[in-house]
């Protein structure tokens, strides 16, 4: 996926308002209208259930965040070798990496999740060796399958990004590193990897926001994240819109915080010129 497409799918740091020239006369009018709508929603709709569910919502948000960060970090750790072997690896590893990325990117995440949870989950108990292993208590839970599916998906999308980023590092910089007598590993650690990550950073940010947007899928395999808590609220209160509107608001806030954090880190990285 190209950088522009990621930007079209995910809210990214470039979309944040830049302070100056934000408040124009028509914007003030629009903000007043928005405030009126929010007041109407707060007054006219039912929100009395909210205090009862606040602790559970907090836990749900925490679970979603843990899912997001653990799978993004794990996925990225897999994506680096995945991108690298598509550039330098022998042909069979290249082919394997290419096939892996194509399959994962060509099928819906929901299907992969259900394949792992229902498919492998129904297969594992049939093997006594697995049932007696130390992993079994974890394999009976739902979250390992959620983490696995989200990690694999992130790794496949990110692997393509890293492939492009590794290929895009100017050859002269790598030749200079070699001329300094750096070993292959030193060159990779000091020059190739940092430069590739730097190039991939804007896309990485967008992909992380996309990953946040994928996390609610784990609620379909009984992981209790914020989406599952809201589904519970809907079942128990028979309300349709109020919980969903709150959920949308929660995700917008999470995305906003994530994007502001990214902008902070992006601004700390020195770049040449503008």
């Amino acid at each position: 996926m190209t950088d522009e497409t990621t930007h079209a799918l995910a809210f990214t740091p470039e979309d944040l308002p830049n302070g100056k020239s934000f408040l124009k006369p028509h914007r003030i009018a629009l903000i007043l209208v928005a405030v009126a709508v929010i007041v109407a929603v707060a007054v006219l709709m039912r929100w009395d259930w909210l205090p009862r569910y606040l602790p559970r919502l907090g836990w749900g948000i925490l679970v979603s965040m843990v899912m997001l960060f653990s799978t993004s970090i794990l996925g990225f750790l897999i994506a680096v070798p995945l991108g690298l072997i598509q550039i330098t690896g022998p042909w069979y590893l290249k082919g394997l990496a290419r096939i892996f990325c194509t399959i994962i990117r060509g099928t819906p995440l929901l299907l992969q999740l259900w394949l792992l949870y229902y498919g492998l989950g129904s297969l594992f108990p049939q093997f006594p060796a697995i049932r007696q292993s130390f992993l079994w208590p974890y394999l009976r839970e739902a979250w390992p399958y959620g983490v696995a599916a989200l990690t694999i998906s992130f790794a496949a999308y990110e692997g393509e990004v890293m492939r492009g980023a590794f290929a895009g590092v100017p050859a002269g910089e790598l030749e200079a590193a070699r001329a300094y007598g750096m070993s292959r590993w030193t060159m990779f650690r000091r020059i190739w990897l940092p430069r590739a990550i730097h190039r991939a950073l804007p896309t990485l940010n967008g992909e992380t926001v996309l990953q946040l947007k994928s996390t609610p899928l784990v609620a379909t395999i009984t992981v209790v994240d914020v989406y599952a808590v809201i589904s519970k609220v809907r079942q128990e209160t028979f309300l349709t819109y109020e919980p969903l509107l709150l959920l949308a608001l929660i995700y917008m806030c999470l995305t906003g915080i994530l994007v502001i954090a990214f902008r902070y880190f992006e601004n700390r990285i020195p770049t040449r010129g503008a």
């Binding site: 996926m1 190209t2 522009e4 497409t5 930007h7 079209a8 799918l9 995910a10 809210f11 979309d15 124009k24 028509h26 914007r27 629009l30 194509t102 399959i103 990117r105 060509g106 099928t107 819906p108 995440l109 929901l110 299907l111 992969q112 259900w114 394949l115 229902y118 498919g119 492998l120 989950g121 129904s122 297969l123 049939q126 093997f127 006594p128 926001v209 946040l212 947007k213 994928s214 996390t215 609610p216 899928l217 379909t220 989406y227 349709t240 819109y241 969903l244 509107l245 959920l247 949308a248 995700y251 917008m252 995305t255 906003g256």
Partner: protein
Amino acid sequence: MHKEHEVAMAADSIINWSLLSLSAPGWGGVLLQGFLNSIQIAVGGYALGLLLGVGGAFGKLYGGPITRDLLECYTTIVRAVPELVLILLLYYAGTDLLNQLLGAVGLGTVDISGLIAGIFVIGVVQGAYSTEVLRGAIKAVPAGQIEAARAYGMSPGKVLRRVTLPAMLPYAIPGLANLWLIATKDTALLAVVGFSELTLVTRQAAGATKAYLLFFCAAGVLYLALTLVSNIFIGALEKHARRGFVEQR
């Protein structure tokens, strides 16, 4: 002995191909029908999204300040909220609103078919994405070409039809191709609202026969085939649209 029997049964349940046969005891026909539903929704939603996207992109670039800000809100919300949540909200809100409208004019309620609701929901989500893709593509068209068209005295509609749309196409096609692939995969999310597209019927078939791996893998093959066939067409389309461009690298 007992354990061996279990393992043998497990191996047997993985490769029991007769479950995929097209006629009644097999579930192949149901799966294909679900696949057809998925494709229909993807095509409809993508087309609706393109319409919304063309309007949105032009509104964002050439519209008044209020239009621009409202469209900014639309694309921001869709790009910041998970598709799953949007699909639920739009599904309930869309069907409710329509029924209330019909009730207000005294037509009574209608049962909105899952197909129409699905197309609407996917279309609104895709609309925001294609707005952004097309806006970027239009901005990539050299300004002089559009200015020249205006200088020739073309009306805005004619400039759009003869210059802006054809000239932006090479820049838009990679992004739009990705959006098509995303539309095909997003249809799977409609399983959550109970629409019998491929992923949901797969789960039903798997639940009924307990052959989970077989059915999920079969569905995966169908999705993958759709992606790969699409990629062939996309490659040809891109080549056609980029004719006359200087090859990079």
